[in-house]
Symmetry: C2
Subunit: 245 residues, 2 copies
């Protein structure tokens, strides 16, 4: 038996999220279907670094699985890609130690959120960006970001319907960077609560639009109450960029 | 009655091309359906600068129509966009002289063809670029382009199934430009024959891959025979960029 770690990109547009759900097209079920074919009908279960919601994309999602097939390490990605649909692509497959776990061993996760910041929409990027037609004050958003970076109880930035008890997480980095006609929010942390990146993004957008001051974000963090933060930003702009072990 | 000239962008991915076809989703039928709604059920016919094939996109397609509605000029685009699907967007609508014709008055058309020139594919651009994993010799392609620019009988670069008799056209400009991990082919001319841009692109690709020399392209032009040129490049990379009157 060998254990394989795969780095996978997917376009979340036409999936009902990452995780298997009965009767729905999900990323996990498509990958497991490809693995089943490769294993002559034997089911293979994969474990990913975490889920992504419906409409959210991934450039560097990671999952692992074990296999008794004798395929040279460098041929795994090609073998899987030949069986996967056009909207999933295995970027890398490497053999790892049997102790490796794609979820439990995560040290750092990075997400990127693409905002299309110009008056006119762009239909060619409608599935990959969130369109903000009004001007944003990037300086104010950057000032607000400083109150989010660090180790906090992120209850204010966690969707209500979650079973997680300890909501303490560490945000290592939160950058807001203009790039051509887009503004990219880049956030890295030890791990993220359910919809945490999208609620942080929604809150930063309200700061950028002048609905409240950067300092008010410190109060939102302190409140530990989901109702104090802003609306959840749409999934389309969001990509799970990189997972580090 | 007023005559309106509209500049429209569309994502060609989910259309069976521009022109109306029975039982098919086309750009023209979607726009005419929106206009019919706006005109309380009265059919309105539009005339565009020309067709685009299935899978081909537009950033600056132009069409005209006449209407007896009293809508201020600046509200037309908004009114139409509210009735159009997500993959069609009217960028501008302006009132024009009654003599204007979107097809007969064209002076210049510009197309852009996006090549993704790197080993790894990119699923987020799979509908908007054509992936060329092997390296291209841009200098050779630029040298070949010089034999295409100018006024020629472009029979070699016209799909066989066409009813057009005079195949003389003028190509004003043909640039091949690297841009990040893409190579953009920009071509402007007086008008283009059926699949002409895609056949020129396919031929330039063969030059870039070293299948033949730039000078051989001069021979292809002189042959006036579709069989002398290369395969038609896929539609996905192609966008009708701008129409000038």
């Amino acid at each position: 038996m060998v254990k394989l770690k795969c780095t996978v990109a997917y376009d979340g547009t036409h999936f009902f999220g990452y995780q298997v759900q009965p009767e729905k097209r999900t990323v996990q079920s498509e990958i497991e279907a490809a693995l089943k074919k490769l294993h002559k009908g034997c089911p293979v279960r994969i474990a990913a670094s975490g889920r992504t919601d419906r409409g959210v994309h991934a450039y560097g999602q990671v999952f692992h699985f074990t296999s008794d097939l004798r395929i040279p390490e460098e041929n795994w990605a090609k073998a899987l890609n030949s069986l996967l649909p056009q909207d999933i692509f295995i970027r890398q497959a490497e053999q790892v130690d049997n102790a490796f776990h794609a979820r439990y061993d995560v040290r750092r996760k990075e997400y990127r959120y693409r905002l299309l910041t110009r008056p006119e929409p762009d239909l060619f990027r409608r599935f990959y960006t969130t369109h903000i037609p009004q001007p944003l004050d990037i300086g104010q958003m950057q000032a607000a970001a400083r109150f989010i970076v660090g180790t906090h109880d992120f209850s204010s930035f966690c969707a209500a319907n979650t079973s997680v008890i300890d909501k303490t997480r560490t945000v290592y980095e939160l950058a807001i960077e203009p790039f051509a006609d887009e503004t990219i929010i880049r956030i890295a942390g030890s791990g993220f609560l359910y919809q945490m990146v999208r609620i942080i993004t929604g809150t930063l957008l309200d700061v950028g639009m002048g609905k409240f001051t950067p300092l008010h974000v410190a109060e939102i963090v302190a409140a530990k109450d989901r109702n104090s933060a802003s609306k959840t930003a749409p999934p389309t702009g969001l990509t799970l960029w990189k997972v580090t072990y």
